[in-house]
């Protein structure tokens, strides 16, 4: 785990890169399974993976809290969810650690990992994270709460209420906006008045930072700085990572019906994963051979995860009414 002042090690970057590849390979696999009628519904992180993994790499799973949103498939892996666990959730199996098959995949939760169970509702996690941050501040152990969301979520009143509260009470919270410029079919121009999300931080007197979401080191640095401030009692930070939504919103959506074809083609050519690979090769940390080997390994992992999850049992219908309230 990185300490505030420790530099990013080559191992960490390697791990992160592997996580990014895992996310992509799992996602590819899920699409195949979806087309085969085996998976009902997918929300793809495609285009967001590098930003998500870079952010989590700058934090401390096990120590910090994570309020993730439905597109945080790669972030969930970085928080410690295994490929098999995510596949269990895709198949809605009983052993899905997030919800035992109760929620659509993408609602990640694991108490022991500090990943706070979310819902499919856009926005409510933002002020909730402020409350978690307040609790962490009271506990005084230097932990922080990371909360992520799309730029569409910034339109909700809850975004404002959460930032205002966290800023007033200097809560150790990192507000991480993955701005892919689209909320389903609504473009940023119809969603976010003004210059952008990062600029909204000033309204609350907190730092606002915009980073390129395909720049692993840039995102890492921004989050690490925010984390240092949070742990030092200096309060929250709002980070806007500019990313691309390389897939439609979900498997229920087809973005070609509302987005420009040339724009889509141009974005497809800007996939962040090759960019990360090239950056690592440039640093001499990766070769095309080691890259291929890693991909090979990841692909076997995904195979095993899929098989195990597919074979796992469904939830017992008799469990339907459990956990509405505490067991008596």
């Amino acid at each position: 785990m990185p300490r505030d002042d420790a530099p990013l090690t080559r191992e960490q970057v390697f791990d992160a890169y592997r996580t990014v590849l895992r996310a992509r390979a799992l996602d590819d696999r899920r699409f195949v399974l979806n087309r085969a009628g085996k998976l009902a519904f997918i929300i793809s992180p495609r285009g967001h993976e590098v930003a998500q993994v870079a952010a989590i790499t700058a934090l401390e799973p096990g120590r910090d809290r994570f309020c993730l949103y439905y597109r945080n498939f790669a972030a969930a892996l970085a928080c410690g969810f295994t490929p098999e666990e995510l596949m269990l959730s895709a198949f809605a199996r009983a052993a899905d650690p997030s919800s035992g098959g109760r929620q659509t995949p993408g609602n990640f939760g694991s108490r022991r990992r500090g990943v706070v169970i979310g819902s499919s509702t856009v926005g409510p996690q933002i002020p909730k994270a402020a409350g978690i941050g307040l609790a962490l501040k009271w506990k005084g152990e230097g932990a922080l709460c990371y909360v992520s969301f799309g730029e569409g979520a910034t339109s909700q009143g809850d975004f404002h209420e959460g930032l205002n509260f966290a800023a007033i009470h200097h809560c150790p919270v990192i507000f991480f906006c993955e701005n892919n410029h689209w909320a389903i079919s609504v473009p940023q121009a119809l969603q976010v008045a003004g210059p952008g999300v990062a600029e909204r931080a000033a309204a609350y007197g907190i730092p606002g930072v915009r980073v390129r979401g395909d720049d692993f080191f840039g995102v890492y640095d921004a989050v690490r700085d925010a984390a240092s401030r949070a742990r030092a009692g200096e309060g929250p930070t709002l980070i806007e990572a500019e990313v691309l939504r390389l897939q439609s919103h979900s498997t229920d959506d087809d973005q070609r019906t509302y987005r420009d074809a040339t724009e889509l083609a141009a974005e497809a050519a800007r996939d962040p994963i090759p960019r990360m690979r090239d950056a690592l090769i440039e640093r001499g940390w990766l070769t095309t051979e080691s890259d291929d080997a890693m991909r090979e390994q990841v692909s076997r992992e995904v195979e095993r995860a899929t098989e195990a999850a597919e074979a796992a049992p469904d939830p017992d219908p008799g469990s339907l009414s459990r956990h509405v309230y505490a067991d008596a």
């Binding site: 919800s99 229920d252 019906t257 219908p317």
Partner: protein, 328 residues
Amino acid sequence: MPERNLVQAVRDALDEEMARDERVCVLGEDVGLKGGVFKATEGLQQRYGVQRVLDTPLAESSIAAVAQGLSLEGFRPVAEMQFVDYSFPAFNQIVNEIAKVRYRSNGDFSCPLVIRAPTGGGVRGALYHSQSPEAFFCHVPGLKVVLPSTPVDAKGLLKAAIRDPDPVIFLEPKKLYRAERQEVAEGEAAVLPLGAAAVVREGVDVTAVTYGYMRTVTVQAAARLSQDGIEVEIIDLRTLRPWDVETCARSIHKTGRVAVIYEANRTGGFGAEVAAELAERCFASLDAPVSRIASPDVPAMPFSPSLEHAFMLNPDKVADGLRRVARY
């Protein structure tokens, strides 16, 4: 007359009313070029322009508030909540503001508008795309609540809702969007009055009062019971506030038995109102207790097919319940 499924009927109603009255406008998330996540507004922006078919930010409270503002200025907005589960951020605007405008101004102001939302489950939407919260709105004086179950009713009642002088919550059972097709009238001939139930099937042994997707389920259940010699009279309420007590009472006068069948959580559901009212009004005619057949008191239906199935009412469960009433 053209054949239409329910979602097409909704679209036709919007289209015809927009053509008829230029004060009618549509707003909501993704209602524009995408045409809504269920395609209920498909083609409308192309036909009526970006002003009259407005993609809003992802903020339900402001969707309701803006609709109200437009209405106060003489427009006839039809606001879409993408799923009724996501109408709760707008609850204050709906309950404290929209519903009470006329009353609190002693009749000086009024606020005719429609809030449309897909409701109910059975489409693997899991906890946050499956709820049936009509009871909340049915408890609010100043609101009308409509919940149709056929293309003909959806079109006729939506046209009436748009023309109504008061705010109407219009809930569309998403499970039925692409179910049955019917011949649906056009223009003025299509309009149906709010507040009138429909006797869907005649029978002498037991009355089933229902609405929404449960109508379909109850019709199937009744067919099975008919083989056992039990003839069910089915009433589809169609409008829940105000609801048609008379039609129900008349039927019970004949059958002496009644079950109320609804998809929402049993406790505090709108079926409780129906059951309480009918039990009081029809006391002297009743040969058996007024029975409720409803979903379990579990937050909403889970994603896993096994749990979804365990949650949902189906023809078997409804037939069992009706048989019990018939044989009491």
